[in-house]
Symmetry: C2
Subunit: 493 residues, 2 copies
């Protein structure tokens, strides 16, 4: 039967993706530098093999024949998600994929030094090719999906969302965010804060991190915590690998980073086992994935009772004479400081959306061909002025050259970050109708919170579309009012 | 060109084997238990894929066509080793491989509890099938190679060796080993020894192990040290992963275990890079591999000047009040104690060959059909009496049920251990003609020793046959006289 054949075929693909994930984790977390060359060759061979499996000629017939055999909603969703993977893999001609890979890695490689040297002129030359090829990709995907060029790229990360919806949401945010930021900055300027200044050994940071992961009910029988230069959540649902990095002069960032990655990890660990090895068993989208990490980091991790636990645990691990640092209210301040800055990855919860909206507006217009790649620095400067009151004139390295995403051609990814923050706020607002969240955290039994997330999000995999999932969980589709209410309550409350 | 096609094809296979090695290491060293099910499915899929690549129909034609194009000795050796891998992979019908895998894992699984319960009757039932299937395998391999059935199995691990040669060597050993053991035991009974009895934290054992690896010039840019239940050397030549286990009540075993695995690792790290990704670039045989680990462990690691370094380093790491333990002459005694015991893996250098010869004689006769599997316990008891003066009557768990090798059908492997010990002694004897080994160790610069090994063994990969390799390195093929001389000098000297 064609449908069963498809499921078996995707199970096979999943096995190779499993090996790719584990070897990818290995590469980032434990591989010695000298192993890089042979490893990247082996990984490239594996990618080719996975791509071959996704583009085998008989799949077209299996999809066509099985479409009429679908009876249940589960079967339809399973077909839909397999079909989506197949369509994505088959959309681009091999020559374009190769050209993109080449241009992307050349641009990225040069960017690593060009960014340090603020060398826009050098960067722009390589980037022109990356943008051109991404526009070609967007055109091809647009032809297939019938979406606008940018929306076809957005669809890679956030299937079902489009720029019409995003424009509406982000434009609304723009009406209140800049002034909210100013109000909060004014308020915080009167509040003294004590920064940690002692030495915080990596071993102790790790022990503390593990304890916090336990509190967050990370399943250590199906996962690990390790170190890497860039923290990430990898592995497979049965064996989720999260990483962090330790700065021995400062522990707060790594600690909250672990909380963030634990959110990603619990989503993966909670995906429906009945659909393991099939795309319908995967996480719904990048935005929903980010909603879980940000639920953990922002909604849960920065809540007053959780911060109190963190402060107590941290003080137990770092016996330094810094009791003022570890006072709960100071800890709360450490984790809710707001600052207008140039750099997205260093941004706080409140200013982060401004960074994302700026990028969204530029990449949307770039992919749709309304602006040229050489217009980007000026537009960046303009929008930084409007949203955060900062100038990036001539400051490319802290402006449009700061992120890796565009460098390697990942246009359409940025909105996921802020969509995630908004979904997280919406989930928390809904959860509070049925769960006494504060009390659960206070008594250190977070099970009711995780049961809600598991029932409504994790266990759903990709059985529903994003809109269906969010509506089933919260009674409405994305509604940024919850995000605003959350920010006002936390930062002006 | 067919020859180039073959090389490209084997490079592709090597990439998948790379991923298999790394994921295998991961499974043994870091994977949480809950990841096992999905991992073993993914690894099985990868094995099937590698086997498919090795059995693709066009290879037969490529081998035939390229055989006439070979000009240089290197090309001929490259062809020979690829051909060998191909022949091994294509020898067995799929039905037999599946039946063996099933019978082997059933037998092994049950064995884990049966051994604890000394349950020969239960074990014998499962084992009958394993032996029967291995005999079938031996027959098929014998038909292809023209070797005797046992020799065809031996050829899997020690290509070029046969039981005629082994009989000659092992029979000679049997003429002097039992009496040598008795002499040494008598001598050692008069020598007091002080055992370590303090607590040796795993962290410190690891730090000590890393220091010793540095002294042994392990290349940390191309490898790592980790922990696993059963120590092994895995990974790939560009990224060699060795493991150990730590017992905090006793440090000597793990420490020398690290020296042993470092020997395996340096062989892998020293394999010829020009032939990376081709079977001709692989280690020569299991026996030669073991010769390198045993060269490190027995020839180098237990030599007087090296033991002196070990004792000094160990004392620096374990600040316990045990200076008598760490005295160089006591350390030497700790590492050269001889004891007649039941268990091969716990055996010392001197009694180890007795364990191997016993197994060799039994598995040879079993594969050749001269004995039945039900004869094994009685034969075991008889030979233990003759070689080590011990009875295993009714003691199956410490007799013929002690090893995993036969349980899963790996007949033909055991001789490699003692061949390795003999080759190691022969290499050392030869090396001493041109290198002042004792002086090099004493001044902690072991480079001349490693240069000899690299030139003569590591850099040769599988370009030569085992006999050619040993003859080129030492002027003669395997000659057990060096092993005997080494044992006499160390234990009665």
């Amino acid at each position: 039967m064609a449908f069963t054949d498809l499921i078996e075929h995707f199970k096979k693909i999943a096995h190779f993706q499993h090996l790719s994930s584990i070897c990818g984790w290995d590469q980032a977390a434990v591989m010695p530098a000298g192993g890089a060359q042979a490893r990247s060759e082996a990984m490239a061979q594996l990618s080719v093999h996975i791509h071959q499996l996704l583009t085998e000629p008989q799949l077209a017939e299996w999809f066509a024949r099985s479409q009429e055999q679908l009876e249940t909603a589960q079967q339809k969703a399973t077909w839909r998600e397999m079909h989506r993977q197949w369509q994505l893999a088959n959309a681009l001609p091999e020559s374009l994929v190769k050209a993109q890979s080449l241009a992307g890695s050349q641009c990225e490689h040069a960017w690593r030094s060009q960014r340090k040297n603020n060398d826009w002129t050098g960067f722009e030359k390589n980037w022109a090719e990356v943008v051109k090829l991404s526009q070609e990709e967007a055109q091809i995907r647009s032809d297939i999906t019938g979406l606008s060029r940018y929306d076809a790229m957005l669809d890679l990360y956030e299937p079902g969302t489009n720029s019409q919806a995003l424009d509406k949401v982000f434009n609304e945010v723009k009406t209140w965010l800049p002034s909210l930021i100013d109000q909060v900055l004014e308020k915080q300027s009167h509040e003294p804060i004590i920064l940690p200044t002692a030495h915080y050994p990596a071993d102790e940071q790790k022990a503390l991190g593990l304890e916090v992961m336990k509190l967050l009910q990370f399943d250590f029988n199906h996962g690990r915590l390790d170190q890497s230069t860039h923290p990430f959540c990898g592995g497979v649902p049965s064996d989720v690998r999260i990483t962090t990095r330790y700065n021995e002069a400062e522990f707060t960032q790594s600690l909250m980073g672990i909380v963030h990655e634990t959110g990603h990890a619990r989503y993966e660990q909670g995906l429906p086992k009945a659909f393991a090895g099939n795309p319908v068993g995967h996480a719904r989208s990048m935005g929903i994935h980010e909603s879980q990490s940000l639920f953990f980091e922002m909604q849960l991790g920065r809540s007053a009772p959780f911060i109190e636990h963190l402060a107590t645990l941290a003080q137990q691990h770092f016996s330094a004479n810094e009791s003022a640092v570890f006072a709960a209210d100071n800890f709360q301040k450490l984790y809710t400081r707001v600052e207008k800055g140039f750099i997205r990855v260093d941004a706080d919860e409140l200013t982060y959306p401004a960074h994302v909206i700026l990028r969204y507006e530029i990449e949307r217009d770039l992919m749709n061909g309304h602006i040229k790649h050489t217009d980007v620095p000026e537009l960046w400067n303009e929008k930084m002025g409007a949203y955060l009151g900062l100038s990036t004139a001539g400051n490319y390295q802290n402006g449009c050259m700061q992120d890796i995403h565009w460098t390697d051609g990942s246009f359409g990814y940025f909105p996921s970050y802020t969509l995630g923050a908004m979904y997280a706020a919406q989930f928390m607002a809904t959860m509070k109708h049925s769960v006494d969240v504060e009390a659960a955290i206070a008594r250190k039994d977070l099970s009711p919170i995780f049961t809600w997330l598991s029932d409504n999000i994790w266990s759903q995999g990709s059985l529903l579309t994003t809109d269906e999932l969010v509506k089933q969980a919260t009674g409405e589709v994305l509604n940024p009012v919850h995000f605003k209410a959350h920010l006002v309550s936390r930062y002006l409350g």
